[in-house]
């Protein structure tokens, strides 16, 4: 089964499926609101046609609500589109702030999502040469585990720190993993290793860090492998 899973890239497909399921749920909720609001307008129209007075404020609130939900729907589709295109190329220049913001949006579609903040970045964006889809999957899994254990009130802070020419460190602060027996597990470590990312977790300090090299490259065409371009070394804690 393990070989078959690897053959079909099952883990990546599973991640893609999970995210799309949460997006479809969000879109369904939006459609449900528009549907109910349109239904209410229909009810009010019927009342008006029989001479029953209708509150104009209620009409305006209803139409405003529909407009807001349409915008929310467009924004959701925009995030879905960004996510879909993250598989266009296996290795590409990636703005880490943009990537983290996308993953935060995707995590907010989960029914058990909590509070999540990406620290604002000032200056030239932190760009690395990496596999954005795989890095998104790793970040997503970290955030999901935090939400599952911290509940809706658990606030997670995510910060990017450049490491001179050797890449960037992504720091997850207030990450709630105390009740998780093994994290990161082998599966996540292997996923990170596949794009030369290192995970360091300090449970006592509720902090987890990803070391993302400045560049990786494909080393062989047919038997795909990833190699980090030599870097200065790992961060110290």
């Amino acid at each position: 089964m393990k070989n078959a899973k690897n053959l079909f890239g099952y883990d990546s497909l599973a991640f893609f499926g999970r995210v799309n399921a949460s997006i479809s749920h969000e879109l369904k909720n939006i459609m449900a609101i528009i549907s109910e609001t349109a239904g209410l307008l229909s009810d009010l129209s019927e009342m008006a046609s029989t001479g029953t007075p209708v509150d104009p404020g209620l009409l305006k609130n209803s139409t405003d609500s529909i407009m807001e939900e349409i915008q929310r729907g467009f924004e959701t589709i925009r995030q879905m589109n960004r996510f879909s295109h993250s598989v266009d190329k296996p290795v590409i220049s990636t703005d880490l702030i943009e990537l983290l913001n996308l993953v935060c949006h995707l995590c907010n579609y989960l029914s058990f999502s909590g509070m999540l903040r990406v620290t604002q970045w000032v200056g030239d964006p932190p760009v690395v040469q990496t596999c954005p889809f795989q890095l998104q999957a790793i970040v997503y899994e970290i955030i999901v585990q935090h939400f599952k254990n911290a509940g809706p009130d658990g606030q997670l802070e995510v910060t990017v720190q450049p490491l001179h020419d050797s890449g960037c460190r992504i720091v997850f602060s207030n990450v709630f993993l105390k009740d998780v027996q093994v994290f990161p597990d082998d599966h996540l470590r292997n996923a990170a290793a596949s794009i030369a990312v290192i995970i360091e977790c300090d449970r006592d300090e509720n902090q987890l860090e990803l070391y993302v090299p400045s560049a990786i490259q494909l080393v062989a065409e047919n038997d795909v492998a990833i190699q980090a371009i030599p870097a200065d070394g790992r961060p110290s804690f």
Binding site: S24, H25, K28, N29, A32, D43, S65, S111, P152
Partner: protein, 120 residues
């Protein structure tokens, strides 16, 4: 007049639905979470039917139904869900008297309420 408890974390959806049910002569109490719903049941005498969203943060719809039943065994239940998997449908159909997908058709909800009212 039917006395309904409506529980869903999507505030706009549940507010609009409540309005439409009130226009049809029902009395509706709206709650945005399982905890709010439990508090509402403690305060009020009796709700005929609880209309619950299946997936909510905190106490989900199925667990909420069990807790509400412990407090009022006469209460009947309708589940609403935005999830479309077969597994969700099987669970919902097993756990509640009625089960409706979102987006909702008001006529379907009224038909479900009428059926439940007829069975009391």
């Amino acid at each position: 007049m039917m006395n309904l408890l409506l529980v869903d974390d999507e505030k706009k959806f549940v507010s609009m639905l409540a309005r439409r049910l009130e226009l049809r002569g029902m009395q509706v109490t709206v709650c945005y979470s399982g905890d709010e719903a439990l508090a509402a049941v403690e305060k009020k005498d009796h709700f005929d039917v609880a209309i619950l969203d299946v997936k909510m943060p905190g106490i989900g719809g199925i667990e909420l139904k069990r807790k509400l039943q412990e407090r009022d065994s006469r209460m009947k239940f309708i589940f609403l869900t935005g999830h479309g998997s077969d597994a969700d449908y099987q669970v919902g159909a097993k756990e509640a008297e009625e089960y409706l997908p979102k987006p909702l058709r008001i006529d379907d909800l009224i038909a479900s309420l009428t059926r439940l009212d007829g069975n009391t």
